[in-house]
């Protein structure tokens, strides 16, 4: 893949009408035109190759999740193999794609049929909904609580800061998955409890990021300027400090979604997360893990889907960081 010229990438990001007006402007004045914060940000993000690839992968994931009922060929929860008269011992549970030479009289199953006779392709497609929902919601919750704690620590300072951050330190000492397992065993297995556990374990990360960025933003000259102009404390907090402290949080959050998807899938794999018959990638792998030696596609299909989703968030997060981190400005 070749890296497109920066200006071209910028043009691709604009609407048709704008392209017409921009096309005559020379690149230098385009780059230095003030007042296009959002567009500039979007442009510098799209200039990152990892962000481009990540965005493509994420689009695939999101579109699959939205159009799951259209894409799926079967009901993800309905055992169909028996009705179709498939014989597992004759190897008929394997993938069957007519285009690739599978006999026309056999019913088509792109990724084969699982041990319970359900269509694996449809289950993988519907699984995208669970993973997306789990990742975004878990990290969203952890970010809200974590950033409140971090912001409080940074603002109040002194004893409160010390106590809050030492508590966060304690949670960071636990290997994430191990603490999550301990929490879920006590709360009881289930997707919601797994999300709760992973969310709780992630809170310290975001509180630290938020605290650090609030502390650094607070010392900037424009905050002093706002204060001198008589802006209220609350105004400074919500209109000046918060938006500027958000950038690192967005980056950490995007990368955090990748981690959350992995961890919840791991909990489901261990039987602590999603419960049958829900089509969730981790629990699909757990269900058929003993089939790895004779029906590897049952593991590969959800496994590759998981890897691609996580890769998408990781790459996009990396791209975001490179684009938004002022220290890396080129």
């Amino acid at each position: 893949m070749t890296t497109p010229e920066p200006v071209q990438v910028g043009l691709e990001g604009l609407g048709e009408q704008q392209v017409a007006s921009v096309a005559v402007a020379d690149p230098v004045s385009l780059a230095s035109r003030p007042g296009n914060l959002w567009r500039d940000t979007a442009k510098s993000i799209l200039r990152q190759r990892s962000a481009q690839v990540g965005l493509v992968l994420l689009s695939v994931l999101i579109l699959t999740a939205i159009f799951a009922p259209v894409i799926a060929t079967h009901d993800p929860l309905e055992p169909v193999a028996f009705d179709e008269g498939l014989d597992a011992s004759a190897g008929e549970y394997g993938p069957c794609i007519h285009l690739f030479g599978c006999p026309e009289d056999r019913p088509e199953h792109f990724f084969g049929v699982d041990r319970n006779g359900r269509d694996v392709f449809s289950r993988v497609v519907y699984g995208s909904r669970v993973s997306l929902y789990v990742g975004v919601l878990t990290v969203g919750g952890a970010i809200v609580i974590g950033s409140i704690i971090g912001a409080l620590a940074a603002f109040l300072g002194g004893g409160v800061d010390n106590v809050l951050m030492r508590i966060m330190d304690v949670f960071l000492v636990f290997p994430a998955l191990v603490l999550a397992i301990a929490l879920v065993t006590m709360l009881g297995p289930g997707l919601l409890n797994a999300q709760l556990a992973i969310g709780i374990v992630a809170i310290p990360v975001y509180s630290r990021v938020m605290r650090a960025s609030v502390l650094s933003v607070r010392e900037r000259d424009y905050i002093t300027a706002s204060r001198a102009l008589g802006e209220s404390r609350r105004g400074i907090l919500f209109r000046r400090i918060f938006p500027n402290a958000l950038t690192p949080l967005i980056v950490a959050g995007t990368l955090g979604i990748a981690g959350a998807i992995l961890d919840v899938a791991a909990l489901s794999f261990l039987g602590l997360g999603a419960q049958p018959p829900l089509a969730e990638w981790g629990s699909m792998i757990a269900l058929d893990r003993n089939q790895i030696f004779n029906a590897p596609w049952l593991i590969l299909a959800p496994g590759i889907a998981l890897t691609i989703s996580v890769l998408g968030f990781n790459l996009f997060g990396d791209g975001l960081r490179d684009a938004l981190d002022p220290r890396l400005n080129r």
């Binding site: 330190d169 304690v170 636990f174 301990a182 006590m186 992995l262 590897p296 998981l306």
Partner: protein, 358 residues
């Protein structure tokens, strides 16, 4: 130096107390009756009353915490419900596997990770660089349990019959046993702490077969560890390679590197002696931090490859709802992590004199 180490040790104590408190609270403060969790949903009221008295659960929460800490100080981690054995005995048996596995993984990850990182930083944007970074991105994205299953499929099924075939589960081939060190060295009646240490080392099959000269067993034990170690090493390897690359790139951009090059120092020497030496500190941090990922990953890796270490004990205990075991092992892994990070912090002081003086 000594003062620095002592100060770091003192700073660890409050965190350690916090860790113990968190583990304690998970069992006592979360919703869910510990009796029902321990004895099962069908436990009668009588059984529960008996259970509460036995474990001091009817005392005040402060007294309970006191008892919990007191037991810990005596090395009493509780009793497994499933096995009816002291958890500390199970640890002596099972921790050695986890230590062998994580150490081998960490070695693979460190050696390969730094090598790849240096290779890609010194040839920026080359094929090696792009390949390494693609591998690194892939490595942090593939779930450990998926990678483990795929590896065992490739090496035990696809490559079966070739010299590259590797066993997908267990610690030794059928029929092989490790003679415990106490017996190998002719002191089978040894008692006390020395015996505990000997048994602990004996359970590290690779180490004990090596020092007692059981070569066949040694080879077999190593071969059984390769697949799980590779699966477990992937994430740390990717993280270490990435950190080495970015840290080295930053250092290589500095003026004194240009000076060294201008003086005509060999490129190899510039990168390794002038560059890597100064770029290594953040890499050491990452190596320390990946131990958390390694311990988390060990839970999944040991489960997939059937290695009876701490991780597999945790997942087995989930099925048996053996809560005391999960609680104790959560505590043990956290303390392990704490100790390793203490060591990492102290090693900074060795690597970078500036930290000592702060």
């Amino acid at each position: 130096m000594l003062q620095f180490v002592l100060r770091r040790l003192l700073l660890t104590i409050p965190v350690l107390i916090g860790v113990i408190f968190v583990v304690f609270s998970i069992s006592r403060l979360l919703p869910g009756d510990p009796c029902k969790v321990a004895l099962g949903e069908r436990a009668t009221e009588e059984m529960c009353a008996d259970f509460r008295t036995r474990y001091g659960l009817d005392e005040s929460i402060v007294t309970q915490f006191g008892i919990f800490v007191g037991d810990l100080l005596h090395g009493d981690l509780g009793t497994s419900i499933t096995y009816g054995r002291p958890i500390s005995d199970m640890l002596i048996e099972r921790m050695p596997v986890t230590i062998e596995l994580t150490m081998l993984s960490l070695t693979i990850a460190t050696v390969l990770g730094i090598t790849l990182g240096v290779a890609s930083a010194s040839r920026r944007n080359s094929g090696v660089d792009v390949g390494t970074m693609m591998f690194a991105n892939f490595g942090v994205s593939i779930p450990v349990f998926v990678l483990g299953l795929i590896l065992s499929f490739i090496f035990a099924v696809v490559l079966k019959g070739t010299p590259l075939a590797l066993p997908p589960s267990g610690r030794l081939s059928a029929g092989l046993i490790v003679i415990p060190l106490a017996e190998a060295w002719g002191v089978p009646d040894l008692e006390g702490p020395l015996r505990v240490v000997l048994d602990f080392v004996s359970n590290m099959y690779v180490v004990s077969s090596l020092i007692s000269g059981q070569w066949v067993v040694f080879g077999d034990a190593v071969v059984h560890l390769i697949l799980p170690a590779i699966a477990l090493a992937t994430i740390p390897l990717a993280l270490i390679a990435r950190m080495t690359r970015s840290s080295l790139l930053e250092v290589l951009g500095q003026d004194y590197i240009r000076t060294a090059r201008a003086k005509g120092v060999l490129e190899r020497r510039v990168v390794l002696s002038h560059g890597l030496r100064n770029a290594i500190l953040p890499v050491v941090t990452v190596i320390g931090l990946t131990l958390g990922a390694l311990l988390s990953g060990a839970v999944l890796t040991e489960t997939i490859f059937g290695l009876a270490g701490i991780g597999k004990t945790i997942t087995d205990s989930i099925l048996g709802r053996d809560y005391p075991v999960i609680q104790a092992l959560t505590l043990v892994t956290a303390i392990l992590y704490l100790v390793v990070n203490l060591i990492v912090d102290v090693s900074y002081a060795f690597l970078d004199p500036r930290i000592r003086l702060e």
